[in-house]
Symmetry: C3
Subunit: 357 residues, 3 copies
Amino acid sequence: MRDAMPRLTGTPGVYLRNAWYVAGWADGLAEKPQAKVFLEEPVALFRDAAGVAHAIGGRCPHRFAPLGAGEVIDGALQCPYHGLRFGSDGRCVFNPHPGGQVPQASVRVYPLVERHALLWIWMGDPARADAATIPDFAWLADPRWEVVRGATCAEGHYELYSDNILDLSHANFVHPALVASAFTEGARKFWQDGETVHAHYAQPDDYLSVGISAILGVTGRKQAFDGHVIWHAPATLSFDFRTGEPGTPYDQLSNMPSLHAFTPETADTTHYLWATGRDFAVGDAEFSQTMRGALEYAFEHEDMPLIRDAHRLMAGQDFWELRPLVLDGDGGGIRARRQLRKMISAEMISAEQGTPA
Amino acid sequence: MRDAMPRLTGTPGVYLRNAWYVAGWADGLAEKPQAKVFLEEPVALFRDAAGVAHAIGGRCPHRFAPLGAGEVIDGALQCPYHGLRFGSDGRCVFNPHPGGQVPQASVRVYPLVERHALLWIWMGDPARADAATIPDFAWLADPRWEVVRGATCAEGHYELYSDNILDLSHANFVHPALVASAFTEGARKFWQDGETVHAHYAQPDDYLSVGISAILGVTGRKQAFDGHVIWHAPATLSFDFRTGEPGTPYDQLSNMPSLHAFTPETADTTHYLWATGRDFAVGDAEFSQTMRGALEYAFEHEDMPLIRDAHRLMAGQDFWELRPLVLDGDGGGIRARRQLRKMISAEMISAEQGTPA
Amino acid sequence: MRDAMPRLTGTPGVYLRNAWYVAGWADGLAEKPQAKVFLEEPVALFRDAAGVAHAIGGRCPHRFAPLGAGEVIDGALQCPYHGLRFGSDGRCVFNPHPGGQVPQASVRVYPLVERHALLWIWMGDPARADAATIPDFAWLADPRWEVVRGATCAEGHYELYSDNILDLSHANFVHPALVASAFTEGARKFWQDGETVHAHYAQPDDYLSVGISAILGVTGRKQAFDGHVIWHAPATLSFDFRTGEPGTPYDQLSNMPSLHAFTPETADTTHYLWATGRDFAVGDAEFSQTMRGALEYAFEHEDMPLIRDAHRLMAGQDFWELRPLVLDGDGGGIRARRQLRKMISAEMISAEQGTPA
């Protein structure tokens, strides 16, 4: 059975709206539409007759049923409750009832772009949605890369989840199989470049973690390591994990890129899409299955319980008002939080002034 | 184990009080009392020594235990916690403790009437409880009718559940086995008659739904259909489902009457009692079992998830403030909502004025 | 997997702070630290390198992870998230990250005393923590006593749980195996002695309950009974259950002492530690297992559901504002509630005045 909608309140929180959020895996949206909640807002995802993916308001204006639980008929999304149909422009296009007059009703349209195997949704002003600003995850759709991936919904504020990726030092404490000197002893650098935030980890000649060494077949052999995390507002991150024999020039290191995309469902729950690519053992399904299992375990049993509990111990209070201790390793997370706050403030000010942010 | 009491708040919502609500199936209340919550109020149901059913306040004034979880001793309801006993007049009649003085304590008495196999409870001013105003469901207790029935408690506001029955067009979208032209193409009529609201559906010569056709043994044969829903405030509905060979005069059509009674437990949960009667295959237990299974499936897997989600997507907001789109098929639901609101307002005004509403 | 932290709010309730609360069984805290919540406050319990138990603030000041979910390294508690270590004085003593400078950070220290097989925590001003005021439960650690014991966390306010032990008359209604005339017909006395509250039950010559008779091997034989409950603020109770042949002098009666310790986790949930001792059948594991099963059943299936439901029916309202009916048997509970309220008020006044209470 379809998952129940989350419980919502009439007073949603504040989010960055003029931004691309990951809405799901493109191939996860097939003939069957989806009922989702992003930023505490119900959204319906569906594909029209031509297979083009769309996102429209997910609550039927008639009796508030989740439109995404319906089905697509003649390219329009039919409400699962009384059968009104809504086109990809959000307008009601069909009324199956006697009289049959099509009501002057519509739901919101969210710009939705299918790119790099992902669906990207724009939760703000459609006029400002520029697909050129979608971060580049081309490898996700490139056959040279074998991709292991997943999706889940987890308890905890989305910023806690992006903090987690920006501070890889957590690996040494949270993930026994991923302990490596690179994260706590290697050279670390954090910086901001426009609206993106970077975390960089390097260790030219040391052992990788047990888990990664096994995957790469370099157990017991020191390697060069170069890790680069890039955060894109609000909470979509890439992580390039480059390794090679010590002394290998940077551009000859092998890369295992990954995606970590966090999209708030509510103030307390986060959609998490992840993927890791490799250019070796391509087509090796058993290898992929082992990797997927290890990654799922790390998230479900190691990261998630800790972040969920940190979220609960914050007790609904604001991160900054709790005056967190800031360590060197927070250079990424803190920059991302400040940048996001700045962008949200700018949006709020421009909304008050009635001018585009 | 007994179900836990629902979580309550100190500030209950507003309900119509001077009205008969269905409290349960009469034969569901045997020697064992019941602890229930109606309109966010704890209520204890029990039968006295003569077998007469009573409803009294369900929270012991001593230590707040659910009286309905106790047992009946000498015709009085004994608190399950420390054994105070309360009579059907709500007064404490026995104190088992040393000293043994019976405290001057009492709980509220709710008028309760056993009629038509149901228990009807009056949640308002006892002086105004007139059993003559209980809707007529005589068929429920008439041996000429074979009755399949059930009871459950479901998430969602009770008005959403009565809306559902008043707009049968939902069958064509929610219940694959019940799709019929009658609900969306047939003649429809909605009207109000005093305090009752009516929805009427007719289709003189067309196929019934696949499910109903199978039940009636008319698969592949067009039939005359006449459906009549009557809403009684606050949320008790009857539904006469009449069919016959095309051209059969109205009074010779066969009827499959049904009851749909919704009693609010809390603002978010609803007690649902339902029954469907037939005057054929009387005594056929296997037939009954199949019908019961189909009806339970339709509710649990088709209606309920949708109404629960519509309730969640309303996010605690008022129905009217959400400015719902109104379709022709809402003629019943809207009248019922307006009538109920009017009756509640009248009660509130008369309560302020200290005069009987 | 470790239990999730409870959901907390930013506005915790008011509790007695300058008091010893039971934090757990001493041997339940081994090498693995524990993440707990007492009085809506996260607390980490751990043992240092010398095996001494400590309690410190349970929320890491860095990223709010539950410190008690970490591990002890070199006698300090390491945060499970990014590896900061905190000593038993609450100060950060180690930073594993590059630079490695130890931040000027600390968490609160709670006085913790290991005594009588229990861990006792002081949630108030450490300067006022006097281990001499810990109630005497020496039998818990005395090899002459065979002790059956348990720990759980239950829904309901902690005062409802101490009320339950102070009014043993509930046994006759809640526990079919423990019905005895002593609790409702025997001589009862309640009194206060300084800050402790006493409930005393005596029945010189009557049958014990079926359950206790079986345990003591006196089925069908009348006994002398002397029961004495002592409440220590805030909610730690001892219960001496003395029996013998009728006429046996008091000091020659056999005792089965028990502990019932209730420590609030949140306003709605309570940690419950219990134990019962005996000086017969010492070493008889099967006997112990039967007793443990019976006691667990009585709590989980008889007490707990009733108290949980009474708690829910109170709907978050204040006990006194609900104007409870007071019976003779409440002489213990009411005294305890008044004494606790008085002590909490005194703390609040002295906190306002900046003077020690």
